[in-house]
Amino acid sequence: MNHDAYPDNYIRGILNSVKSIAMVGASPQNVRPSYFAFKYLAQRGYDMIPVNPGHVGKDLLGKPFVASLSDIGRPIDMIDIFRNSSHIMPVVEEALTLDPLPKVIWMQLGARDDAAAMKAESVGIKVVMNRCPKIEYGRLSSEISWMGVNSRTLSSKRAPAPTQGMRLSLNRMSVGGGDTAASDRAAKNKAEQS
């Protein structure tokens, strides 16, 4: 997979197929991006599991925190890692010990570890790096268009009025894969410099 620019169908396929998502680094602080991504994905019908050893015994929006991936005790479809790039590898290594393996490992906006991605992909796990699943869901459903964001999708179909707790269709026509060409180039230049 080219991790500088993902085809929309790759992201769409992931968000349309996964049901359970373990979020590593989920924060109970309501101003942290992990908190509101967790809340949004839960409202859109995903089975969310907060993973954070610092908060075991508490819960996040009614879901009990677990200390580590191996404590979840049931199969999970996707692991969403809300940690800095330097903390990705141990999480991926732990994910690779799970049975069954997760289908997807997703690293948040700003997080990228190509070696960890290669490790996961070598055993058939799909990897997404430096993206936010909330933003991608909002983009492919065009819900993010309320913010003036270029969803890079079109549709001539009448969509149902969105309400809380309902899943939205992500199956709109894409007008180009991944990010815009210019922002892709910028991200690639930045990755090469660092």
Binding site: P7, V31, L109, N150, L154, R172, S183, A186, K190
Partner: protein
């Protein structure tokens, strides 16, 4: 659902718009409302905290305006956009995110006269210091860079003479200086030039001109290219530092490659207040649907008129980059191969008096201070749009006393030429 890129005309009609979920209305409805009902207290708190997508109050966002924003972002190849009340408002909101008092920005000397005024006088009172550079001398931009430089500002096609700016060369200077390049793309529109493809980080427009295109609605827009990294060195604290007005959110961390557009909305538009009326957004959206058709006709007419004027005995010179003899023709071929725009100047052998006489004799051209209308327009910049500049600055910005500016409309070109012919011989 294949990842296929639709063409420019398809995006001009469809991007951002879809049938209204509630009524099925196919044209974008005018959501003429100040405010939007929350589902419950938690939903309200999520919206105010920038945690959920949705509408609060039309000064921050409006569904009609959002369609316009997405459409222009798509046409320019940006990640997001923010519509505001005018092109001038767009410039204030952009620079508010980038400059602290005492900071500098470099601007091309060839600009719309109103921008020269805004930068020289209004922004000075904010402590934002403009440093002028010559777009025909790229090294003058390099020499202007100091540790306080926060941005570079140019026009893609420059008012009033329609000169073409070497965007790529100036974007190289900006990249080296570690500052974003802002391009005012008003006179080109994305149909002729997409500055982001040439290295722009931010694009601004007066929507009032070719995008709206009918001379009936004011508006401005800011497009975020998603290309600039705001996190380095604490140089852009509005984007990289925790924002106290939003419980410590860091915009770049939270919104990634559309953080600048969000900053313009939630720190600029929200607090400065230049919101666009949804009615104007609707009018401008309707205009954009025909942008490719109109823009081509504008350019084809302009070239015919410029060629006519260049061959007329009363005309001293014509500045139109679409003419093979023009000094900007090479740049026009590179940046605007479909046409060199429709705003240009010419000077008359009879000087100032002949210019005034011409303006008074024209019957089809309207004498007014706007460009980018379906109608053809004429003005004498030295006594109007550029009148607040001193004589030397007038000449430097291409608005000397003998210069007449035209904005060519989409009428039949034969009629425009006949009108000029009778006025020049009268």
């Amino acid at each position: 659902m294949s990842d296929r890129l639709p063409g420019f005309s398809t995006l001009a009609v469809h991007a951002g718009a879809q049938p209204d979920p509630t009524t099925g209305a196919r044209a974008t409805p005018i959501y003429q409302t100040t405010s939007f009902v929350f589902n419950d207290a938690d939903h309200a708190a999520s919206l105010f905290g920038l945690q959920a997508f949705g509408n609060i109050y039309t000064r921050i966002g409006n569904p009609t305006n959002a369609v316009l924003e997405e459409r222009v972002a798509a046409l320019e190849g940006g990640t997001a956009a923010l519509a505001v009340a005018s092109g001038h408002a767009a410039q204030v909101v952009v620079l508010q995110q980038l400059l602290q008092p005492g900071d500098e920005f470099i601007a091309a000397r060839k600009l719309y006269g109103g921008s020269i005024n805004q930068f020289t006088h209004a922004f000075k009172s904010f402590g934002w210091n403009v440093v002028w550079a010559d777009p025909d001398d790229i090294a003058s931009f390099e020499r202007a860079v100091t540790p306080r430089t926060k941005a570079i500002f140019i026009e893609s096609i420059a008012n009033p003479a329609g000169s073409i700016t070497d965007i790529e060369a100036i974007s190289t200077v900006a990249r080296k200086a570690g500052v974003p390049l802002i391009v005012d793309n008003t006179l080109a529109s994305p149909y002729l030039i997409r500055p982001i493809d040439h290295g722009a980080d931010i694009v601004v427009h007066s929507l009032t001109k070719f995008l709206g295109g009918h001379g009936n609605s004011l508006g401005g827009i800011i497009v975020d290219a998603g290309t600039f990294d705001w996190s380095t060195g604490g140089k852009y604290p509005m984007l990289s530092e925790p924002r106290p007005e939003y419980h410590g959110i860091r915009l770049q961390e939270t919104f990634g490659n559309f953080a600048f557009a969000i900053a313009c909305r939630v720190l600029g538009l929200r607090d400065l207040g230049p919101a666009l009326s949804p009615f104007n957004a609707f009018m401008i959206l309707t205009g954009i649907e025909t942008l490719p058709l109109r823009m081509q006709k504008h350019c084809d007419n302009a070239k015919a008129v410029a060629e006519f004027l260049a061959g007329h005995p009363a005309v001293a010179s014509v500045s139109y980059a679409g003419l093979a003899s023009d000094k900007y023709n090479q740049l026009a071929r590179k940046y605007a191969p479909k046409g060199a725009g429709a705003v240009f100047t010419f000077s008359l052998k009879g000087g100032y008096d002949a210019g005034v006489n011409l303006v008074s004799k024209l019957q089809l051209f309207s004498h007014l201070a706007n460009v980018g209308d379906t109608r053809s327009l004429v003005i004498h910049p030295a006594s109007t749009t550029h009148s607040q500049l001193d004589d030397a600055a007038k000449v430097k910005s291409g608005a000397g006393p003998d210069v007449v500016r035209l904005s060519i409309g989409i009428e039949d070109k034969e009629d425009l030429i006949a009108d000029l012919e009778q006025a020049l011989s009268a």
